[in-house]
């Protein structure tokens, strides 16, 4: 493993670790569930994706065992599933009637609490 190869892997590990840290700080510090999933679903996805890229570079895509290609599959999988999961959680939070923090309001009602589940069914 030569120095440039190792430096690239180190760069992607540093980026990925930074985004994981930022995402988790957002999860802890932000005021309500919508803001928290806004922080985690983007920052944590970028962090894990960057670490998968580090894995692709470390194990070259043509390596025996296919670890590099598996990393690329993991990137595609994360980019498909994490936004879906965040969307489903936010939909569940809206159905449960979780309020916004601060003075943010829902566009239709002008209230911080979503409509009652009877009215907003689908």
């Amino acid at each position: 493993m030569n120095t440039i190869h190792a430096a690239l892997v180190t760069l992607f590990i540093a980026i990925g670790t930074f985004f994981l840290l930022v995402g988790t700080i957002g999860l802890i510090r932000l005021p309500d569930v919508y803001n928290r999933m806004h922080a985690t679903s983007k920052a944590t996805t970028l962090g894990a994706t960057s670490l998968f890229l580090a894995g692709t570079i470390y194990f070259a895509p043509s390596a025996p065992g296919g670890a590099g290609l598996t990393s690329l599959v993991g990137i595609v999988f994360l980019f498909m599933t994490v936004p879906t999961g965040a969307h489903v959680i936010s939909q569940a939070a809206e159905r449960m009637g979780i309020e916004f923090a601060g003075d943010a309001v829902w566009p239709d009602t002008g209230e911080s609490r979503p409509e009652s589940p009877d009215e907003s069914d689908e």
């Binding site: 493993m1 120095t3 190792a6 430096a7 892997v9 180190t10 590990i13 540093a14 990925g16 670790t17 994981l20 840290l21 995402g23 988790t24 700080i25 999860l27 802890i28 569930v33 928290r36 999933m37 985690t40 679903s41 944590t44 996805t45 962090g47 894990a48 670490l51 998968f52 580090a54 894995g55 470390y58 194990f59 390596a63 065992g65 296919g66 670890a67 590099g68 598996t70 990393s71 599959v73 993991g74 999988f77 994360l78 599933t81 994490v82 879906t84 999961g85 965040a86 489903v88 959680i89 936010s90 939909q91 569940a92 939070a93 159905r95 449960m96 979780i98």
Partner: protein, 98 residues
């Protein structure tokens, strides 16, 4: 299970620091799971923990120079996604498969 010997020093240092930070943020996300005031907060915390464990598995694959742990991380990502969808549907719809 031993650290690969031919790695340059700064790379193995970066992998170790990355493992420590990823483990630390996983523990911090546990705060939101335990105290987080509503159920969706806990689901978001568990989702974050799942993604962080994926990152830990990748870093462990790099540290041990064993590509098999990349497969482990992919399986962990699949399990985290399915469990998030299942819990979100359970708390909003009341059942998982209608």
């Amino acid at each position: 299970m031993s650290v690969a010997t031919e790695l340059p020093g700064f790379l193995s240092l970066a992998i170790t620091v990355g493992l420590v930070v990823a483990s630390g943020v996983t523990l911090l996300a546990g705060y939101r799971v335990i105290f987080g005031p509503t159920t969706p907060d806990r689901v978001v915390g568990l989702d974050t923990i799942a993604t962080n464990v994926v990152a830990i598995a990748i870093l462990f694959a790099l540290q041990t120079d064993d590509g098999f742990f990349i497969d482990v991380s992919l399986v962990l990502a699949i399990i985290g996604f399915i469990s998030t969808i299942a819990v979100a549907r359970y708390v909003s719809e009341g059942d998982i498969i209608e």
